[in-house]
């Protein structure tokens, strides 16, 4: 269901800092992300895009500040409930994080297995997702035998197979030619129109221009601007 009116924030960040030792990866980030938003996080390499996503799924802990996901305070969440938090997300990792010793099918299926879905359902769903990303031929291959772009498509398939509320995509088209990139982009947009909140970290301006949505710009850990795509593209300074 599309609910354009419902703009209550699904993610809220208040004065968030993240330091890796002395290195300041994120500085004073305050950001509300409404439900069903399509949001880009842009910025040059090392700006802190991946770090910001990591904080959201508790891949890293904040150094200071608060993050609320659907009202759940990440600083207070118990260890036991972390899996529940992560199931809200479909995550496309910048480095894909595929399991090299498992087949493509198993790599994607694991998300559904972990939530105790029925075997029959898993078979159907995984095959259909792999078809969507154009990888149905590679069902029984292993990740290392695939090209970078093919691995990326598997990573996308895994991220969306569980119908997550929120998609975190870290350079989802980084390794893809234009055609494959468009397929992925269409997929993400389709999830967005179906009601998911989609957050894409990228430094690919072309991707941002094609897609539209809100853009926040990071530079050396500082959030510099939050704008819409039009002004982002026109802003020669970025």
């Amino acid at each position: 269901m599309i609910d354009g009116q419902n703009k209550s924030p699904i993610i809220r960040m208040f004065h968030v800092y993240k330091n890796y030792g002395a290195k300041k990866a994120l500085v004073n980030i305050t950001l509300d992300i409404p439900k069903n938003e399509l949001l880009f996080i842009s910025g040059p390499s090392g700006a802190g895009k991946t770090t910001l996503l990591k904080l959201l799924y508790l891949g890293e802990k904040v150094s200071e500040g608060q993050i609320l996901i659907e009202g759940m305070n990440l600083s207070r969440i118990s260890h036991k409930r972390i899996p529940l938090l992560r199931r809200k997300y479909g995550i496309i990792f910048q480095d894909y994080k595929l399991i090299a010793t498992k087949t493509i099918f198993d790599n994607v299926a694991i998300v559904l297995e972990a939530t105790g879905k029925k075997r029959r359902f898993i078979e159907k769903k995984v095959k259909s997702i792999l078809r969507t990303v154009g990888m149905e031929e590679s069902l029984h291959s292993f990740p290392p035998s695939l090209s970078g772009g093919e691995q990326q498509r598997i990573a996308v398939a895994r991220a969306i197979v569980g119908d997550p509320k929120i998609i975190l995509a870290d350079e989802p088209t980084g390794n893809l030619d234009e055609v494959s990139a468009n397929i992925i982009l269409d997929l993400l947009k389709r999830f967005h129109t179906r009601g998911a909140t989609v957050i894409i970290a990228t430094h690919d301006k072309e991707l941002i221009r094609k897609t539209g949505g809100r853009v926040i710009h990071l530079n050396q850990g500082y959030m510099q601007k939050t704008t819409n795509v039009e002004s982002y593209i026109n802003d020669s300074q970025l």
Binding site: F93, K97, R158
Partner: protein, 291 residues
């Protein structure tokens, strides 16, 4: 659940060498510990049968008149610790002897008269079936004038029982040591498997798998290792047992030692025990690994 089994089997296949080494180690430990158990069971049987047979033989002086004999029986029956007294006349004893040695009748042909004395066979109450009390009773019996000789063949039984108890203690200690060693080995295998799968475990967590989902196949793996190790160890022991008992049957003492294998209960107990070792070894390494 079926899915967890599949993952566990896959893990074992992927780490065939590691798992074989673990299973073999468990099997060897089980083999050693259960051979001890087997030895104890049988030694215990023998000792018990000896204990049950603790009796005092009293040989009377030749030509003790019958009246004296029945008085004596009466007296002995009223002593402390006596269960029953059976009079064995020398004729009875001679017939018994002949029967036992009927293959060598020539032995008796030249015998002009019965060389055996009259005797009492005295059985003791259970509370008196131990070294000191038997000795006390024996000396008291020896003091009767009509009694020629008192014999209790198990003088050495006391010492042997002590020795046996010490041996048993050693057995327990060794069992304990093997338990710990096996535990560490299982824990270590699982740790190595976990280590080689740390990326996978990390990824599973990132996609929302719970710890119990991640742990389940490892537990199953530990259980399988323990059970297989136990079964292989006991099977080896059983083969050894068959070889030993058949060679004993062919040997000198047929029927003397009817050695028996572990009872079904002990058998199942050992397998359960080794399965438990697999489980707890797994628990230890998982506890360390997945904080």
């Amino acid at each position: 659940m079926i899915h967890n089994y599949k993952r566990a089997i896959q893990d074992i296949r992927d780490h065939r060498f590691l798992n074989s080494v673990t299973i073999i180690t468990i099997a060897i430990s089980i083999l050693i510990v259960s051979s001890f158990a087997l030895f104890f069971v049988n030694a215990n049987d023998i000792i018990n049968s000896w204990k049950k047979g603790i009796k005092i033989m009293v040989y009377l002086k030749p030509d003790t008149p019958e009246t004296k004999i029945s008085k004596l029986i009466h007296k002995i029956q009223h002593m402390d610790g006596i269960r029953d007294v059976r009079f064995i006349s020398k004729n009875e004893a001679f017939q018994e002897l002949k029967k036992q040695m009927k293959r060598q009748p020539s032995l008796f042909e030249n015998l002009k008269e019965n060389p055996l004395p009259d005797a009492f066979e005295i059985r003791l109450k259970i509370s008196f079936q131990n070294q000191e009390k038997v000795e006390i009773l024996a000396t008291r019996l020896e003091s009767f004038p009509q009694i020629d000789e008192v014999e209790y063949g198990q003088r050495w039984l006391g010492q042997f029982t002590n020795f046996f108890n010490l041996f048993r203690l050693t057995g327990y200690a060794m069992g304990g040591l093997f338990f710990i060693a096996t535990l560490l080995i299982v824990a270590n295998t699982i740790r190595l498997v976990l280590y080689s799968r740390r990326d996978e475990v990390e990824i599973m967590r990132l996609v929302g798998a719970t710890d119990s989902f991640i742990k389940a196949p490892f537990y199953i793996q530990g259980l399988i290792q323990g059970a297989f190790g136990g079964i292989i160890g006991l099977a080896t022991l059983f083969v050894g047992f068959l070889l030993l008992s058949s060679s004993m049957e062919r040997g000198i003492s047929p029927g003397l030692f009817a050695i028996r294998f572990l009872s079904t209960g002990a058998f199942c107990g050992i397998i359960l025990g080794s399965t438990f070792v697999g489980w707890i070894g797994c628990y230890l390494s998982l506890k360390q690994f997945l904080k």
